[in-house]
């Protein structure tokens, strides 16, 4: 982008908003918003404390386990629904209900069912992510060109070969889109799980900092989470772009 004939570096708007934050913070307008420089300083002071590292590793474990189960369950289920009318009729209403349902309200039920530990957090994370992954995989398979299916049949492809060599790849752009949205939802799931179920990980840190009005700490952790979610999403978007060359002509 250029302004007044000067070429601006990328992320210029981020610098501008950062300055804005700094000014508001320094004006002492509200205790709720300390200056950005203070938040960043706080971040470096807490980043190698055991509390922060424990929170990070607990969250990462729950997140990865939840996303992994959502992907491993979601993609085959979606492909199966796209290929099999009966399975589709059976499962689609549930997928649609859960996709739009306020899953946070289910968390107390999960607590009762699976206890107050890691297990419930992982299940919450997976529940947030899995539905959109299923729906996208299903949509990806349903738009596969009829002649690709005919081609597989005419050369005598076994169902497994058709699935692994054709359907999965032909649906890959949609599948990756679903995984990307699913991962973003999983970030919400893991934090909500940690806040509601058992006060562990970043959930515990949030509780601690906000209850003690440590706003610098609070914002530092929040920025870390936002940044992690953003990097994950951009990484998957880059992966999506790598297959987009064939998304237009399948």
């Amino acid at each position: 982008m250029t302004a007044f004939g000067i070429r601006l570096p990328g992320m210029s708007s981020l610098i501008l908003w950062g300055l804005f934050w700094e000014i508001i913070g320094r004006s002492g307008y509200t205790f709720f918003l300390p200056p950005l420089s203070e938040v960043i300083a706080t971040f470096f002071s807490i980043v190698d404390t055991p509390a922060f590292q424990k929170a990070l590793s607990e969250t990462a474990q729950a997140f990865l386990a939840g996303v992994f189960s959502a992907v491993v369950i979601g993609i085959p289920t979606g492909i199966l629904m796209g290929k099999n009318r009966l399975v589709d009729e059976l499962l689609l209403p549930w997928v649609n209900i859960f996709l739009s349902a306020p899953l946070t309200a289910l968390v107390p039920v999960l607590m009762v069912l699976f206890g107050f530990g890691m297990k419930s957090i992982i299940i919450t994370t997976a529940l947030f992510a899995v539905w959109i992954i299923i729906l996208n995989a299903r949509a990806g398979v349903m738009q596969i060109n009829r002649s690709l299916t005919d081609m597989a049949n005419s050369f005598g492809a076994t169902p497994w070969a058709a699935f692994s060599k054709i359907y999965f790849w032909a649906a890959l752009p949609e599948i990756l889109g679903g995984v990307r949205i699913g991962v973003i939802r999983a970030v919400k799931g893991v934090i909500i799980g940690q806040l509601l179920i058992s006060i562990v990980g970043f959930g515990a840190l949030f509780e601690l900092y906000s209850a003690n009005f440590l706003m610098g700490h609070f914002w530092a952790v929040l920025i870390v989470l936002f940044a992690l979610a953003f990097v994950l999403s951009e990484g998957l978007a880059a992966l999506e772009r790598r297959v987009s060359y064939y998304a237009a002509q399948r």
């Binding site: 002649s147 597989a152 050369f155 492809a157 297959v243 064939y246």
Partner: protein, 267 residues
């Protein structure tokens, strides 16, 4: 090679005895809609038979029934005397929209039929390389379909069908998605292929000129419900030089005759 001598298997007299594919009393209904009604037709071995007709006359439906991709409501199809129950290695299909894997190279696409049949990778790639050369795509082995023109993509589709070495080649309007110049080149190449490959070709087209140019036998289908209205066998065109066929009086007569019988079906 420009001229194609007529040998015994290609002469008209013993065509029915040497039928590679025969269709017997085939009907196909989609719910209340009759796509095909009691259709019977023989496809002589080693020759090219066109299915010609206006759009919606069920030519592609018939081709897919022969391929085993669709089941007929009634009647049966025999390939080399064996009834068709599904797709089989004795038939290969060339698709109108090419049906290539966009994420795979030309080499893998051409070898894909063999890959699905479990041929080892070194063996199938050797075969594929040979057919890539035969269709004139040498040097494009590592290219992806989106880097090729429509005509080149269809050459990939053709090479894939040839690579599995089926006796019967089913071609569903293979040249309709390529430009006119490329199509003419394809038609000439197809004549060389029919003469050289000793395969039976079934060719669906809606172009009268194309059908007369490439065919040993033309089956004209009329719509709603489809039946074979006429079978025409050009007698002298195959001995002509490929570049002289379009000036041959027989070529022009047959084109006119087919148009006369089809024109009333065109809205």
């Amino acid at each position: 090679m420009d001229t194609h001598p007529i040998d015994m298997t290609r002469s008209a007299t013993n065509a029915s005895a040497a039928a590679a594919v025969s269709v017997r009393g085939v009907s196909k209904n989609y719910g209340q809609v009759e796509a095909l009604r009691d259709l019977s037709l023989d496809f002589p071995r080693g020759q090219l038979t066109s299915l010609l007709g206006p759009s919606g006359c069920g030519k592609t439906t018939l081709l897919k029934i022969i391929a085993g991709l669709l089941q007929p409501t009634e009647g049966e199809v025999e390939v080399n005397g064996k009834p068709v129950t599904g797709p089989g290695p004795d038939r290969a299909f060339v698709f109108q929209d090419f049906a290539l894997l966009p994420w795979a190279t030309v080499l893998r696409n051409v070898a894909f039929g063999l890959e699905l049949r479990g041929v080892r990778i070194s063996e199938r790639e050797a075969i594929a390389e040979q057919y890539i050369r035969n269709v004139g795509l040498a040097g494009f082995e590592k290219s992806y379909p989106h880097e090729l023109s429509g005509g080149m993509r269809q050459r990939v589709g053709l090479a894939r069908a040839l690579a599995v070495d089926s006796e019967v080649l089913l071609m569903d309007e293979p040249f309709s998605a390529v430009d006119e110049q490329t199509r003419r080149k394809f038609q000439e190449d197809l004549l060389g292929l029919v003469a050289g490959e000793n395969k039976t070709f079934l060719f669906v087209t809606h172009s009268i000129e194309e059908a007369v140019y490439v065919s040993d036998q033309i089956a004209i289908l009329l719509p709603r419900p489809s039946r074979v209205s006429e079978v025409i066998r050009p007698s002298g065109l195959r001995t002509r030089n490929v570049s002289d066929i379009r000036r041959d009086p027989e070529y022009l007569d047959i084109v006119d005759r087919i148009w006369a019988s089809l024109r009333s079906y065109v809205e």
